[in-house]
Symmetry: C2
Subunit: 107 residues, 2 copies
């Protein structure tokens, strides 16, 4: 299992929409997340400007699973709703969410 900590900006004017979408996520999107070996996935909001995600990846090919997720039509439709709410930090070329470095873990 590999733990991921990720960060992205939320546009202040889209905060309410973002919260509403994520309070009632589409069942097909949740099913796809699980099918792509992601578990225990939480997103936290810092004030009205930054999102912090934590999840656990239990598969053995993260890139292939993420490609599979990106190819799912309902997930694409979901991202059409959520992407305009967010803004990448743009710290790495081509990234959307930014992967942070894990500096501590205690089971």
């Amino acid at each position: 299992m590999k733990r991921y900590g990720q960060v992205i900006r939320v546009k202040p004017e889209m905060v309410e929409k973002y919260i509403e979408l994520h309070a009632n996520p589409w069942p097909e999107v949740i099913a796809q997340i699980k099918a792509c070996n992601i578990q225990n996935y939480s997103i936290f909001m810092l004030e009205n400007h930054t999102l912090f995600a934590y999840f656990e990846y239990v598969g053995n090919d993260f890139e292939a699973d993420m490609k599979r997720m990106a190819a799912d039509p309902m997930t694409q439709k979901w991202w059409k709703e959520t992407d305009p709410c967010q803004e990448s930090l743009g710290l790495e070329p081509g990234e959307w969410w930014h992967n942070m470095r894990e500096v501590f873990h205690c089971d």
Copy 2:
């Protein structure tokens, strides 16, 4: 079980010390964390300026457990090392780490 997402700044000049301390945390401090009903505790670093923590609280009186942790002499000694590395966002009166709002969760 309650999930916590927290954020604090790390002082850029203290990043190396912070990483070194947390790569080899003191066993007594880890034991105290577990004794205070905190599990699955990870800290991630964003660039050299911000720390995001995720943990799961499995007790039933978080404030009492945090008081107990703060009264532990080895934890106090540990915090004497780690506190000077950090700087609170100061978003709430008296806070150290800032508790974020959970906006999404998927098991």
